[in-house]
Symmetry: C2
């Protein structure tokens, strides 16, 4: 059993629960106890690559990834299920250091879905893929009877090509590495929750949903020796860093004062009892690299609107079993844990 | 508007209906009027490749395909949602003439799904992929709340490599080409319907769900100049041939007496008012190739259990706007049409 499963008592394991989809402890348990063993992947608590797989075909080094999108509501400030399905999968490819090439689109429609909503979602999907320069090359459409779906579920799978020699992943993290964060956190989760619950804030909080491949490819073109990349989705910054710490074996130490949270997002989180560290993002990433390359990398990232507020938020330290330690604004330290499940279900 | 949309009056187009998922006229309309235009693919009634896309990356010629599986019930004689999700996607790659390389698995679980069912389905998926020699390299798991899913939906996307110079597809079909069918038809649809409705036949009819890549790769290794391949899924042999006729512009002529249907399947179809030509298969394909290569191709196909009953069932004739003409057992001819929707919803 690994660290992720330790702090909490065993859960009811006979049926799937909503929290099994949340990016927290329960999702890791479901994967590690049921899905990975049955599929015969991974071992000793380590599954297949979270963001995407890298393989070689005919001499080309390729990345391959898949994601299903079940977000509710389907349309929210700053995006919708169509644009999200492009950004999410593009970002998984980008986290492998790959240049995105093409996408597949698999639709599961529920009988009764208004045709106009389908059209809007597909137009948005198309717009997002055109803006990112990636082609939709193949697809599939299934329909389920009323009451056995929820309007529209979208799967996108993506293929990218890797045009550098770096080995980007948790295993490449080294002691003393700097940890950069590409922007402020928590906006996607709060925007979706507000849209779902009909909460009104003074100014509408917009999702950060956006593609990250351009700043990543710029880092690689600049010759920056990137060790690891991780986009922050379900479970937020906490889950992203926790996975990096677990998979690399290092302790990740971060400073709260360096982590940007928009005042509106912070206010909403306080009102709702959420920790911004646990709230989902869809256009933010963590970059791990040698400390001496950090300033140059930040300068490169800041050239792109999606990462114009990139900042150094911490470092990798030896030992201590893959913990994430947060130095708070008042100078105290606490260990960051994963939530049991996602505080906001169906966030992507 | 193309031929497929002609014979029937316009349907209610404001909401998605179950028949939109059935592989018939309504599915073609949904794709051609809503999904393809919104995604900006295809044109003039021709969408992207049905079975898979072929593209080049770093010098390698690759095939890419995706399918979602929503079959009900999840377990049926001859297979389950796990094995089907492997066979279906493998077969789409095989229909591009590709050697399958790797698969992704995207799961959408409904809250309340018994963990044991999930485990069984995943073990079956793993077994089917191991038997076919293809690796599961990446995945994703989402959970939706009770009442907004149907236990388990599986998406698999696949990548294959093309190691020959043929251009396999409807555009390569030539006048006089022979049309081969790899085995008897209708078993998958009848097996699933019987399991769903609790119908008992004297002997259980088993689905034909099986991978087709081995006979395809053997045809290619033998140097047989294959023009087109099409696996028969939703809409059955009728839909498969209708699509080939439409996309090639040729008339497809077939002889009923050469199309094998197991007596049990024929009896079940008669009882249920189904035409075996319209019933889904998951381990059968049509091979189109020069008539002079037909005998050798049949000999190669018969070396594999999955295609041991391969036979020549017809030919491609010039002109007549992409019709499929069936010469019946009594010698009369009729035009084969697509059903409006799949006679058996949620068959894959």
């Amino acid at each position: 059993m690994n660290d992720l499963a330790c702090p909490l008592p065993p859960v009811e394991d006979r049926t799937v629960q909503l929290a099994h989809g949340g990016g927290g402890v329960m999702m890791h348990r479901l994967l590690e106890r049921v899905i990975f063993p049955a599929l015969g992947v991974g071992g000793a608590g380590v599954g297949p690559p979270h963001d995407g797989a890298v393989f070689t075909a005919g001499g080309a080094r390729l990345a391959f990834t898949t994601d299903s999108y079940v977000i509710r509501p389907r349309f929210f400030p700053g995006g919708d299920i169509g644009s999200l399905a492009v950004h999410g999968t593009l970002n998984d490819l980008a986290m492998c250091g790959a240049r995105p090439l093409c996408l597949s689109v698999g639709l599961i429609l529920e009988e009764g879905l208004p045709m106009e909503e389908l059209r809007r979602a597909m137009e948005s999907l198309k717009r997002a893929s055109s803006e990112a320069g990636i082609s939709i090359v193949t697809g599939d459409t299934k329909v389920v009877d009323r009451g056995n779906g929820d309007g529209l579920f979208v799967n996108t799978s993506g293929i990218g090509i890797i045009e550098h020699d770096l080995d980007i992943g948790p295993a490449s993290i080294r002691e003393g590495d700097a940890i950069l964060l590409s922007g402020d956190i928590g906006r996607h989760g709060v925007a979706v929750l507000a849209a779902r619950e009909g909460l009104a804030f003074e100014t509408a909080i917009r999702s950060d949903s956006a593609p990250l491949h351009e700043p990543v490819l710029a880092l690689l073109r600049a010759g920056i020796p990137v060790h690891c990349l991780r986009d922050l989705t379900r479970g937020g910054l906490a889950a992203g860093l926790k996975e990096l710490a677990r998979d690399s074996g290092f302790t990740v130490r971060i400073r709260e004062s360096d982590i940007a949270v928009e005042p509106q997002v912070r206010g909403a989180c306080e009102m709702l009892g959420l920790d911004p560290l646990h709230v989902a993002n869809e256009g933010r990433m963590v970059v791990v690299l040698p400390a001496e390359a950090a300033d140059e990398a930040i300068a490169v990232l800041r050239r792109f609107p999606v990462s114009e507020n990139a900042a150094r938020i911490g470092c990798a330290l030896a030992g201590q079993n893959g913990r994430v330690v947060l130095e708070s604004i008042v100078g105290t330290c606490r260990v960051v844990e994963l939530p049991l499940g996602e505080p906001l279900p169906r966030i992507c």
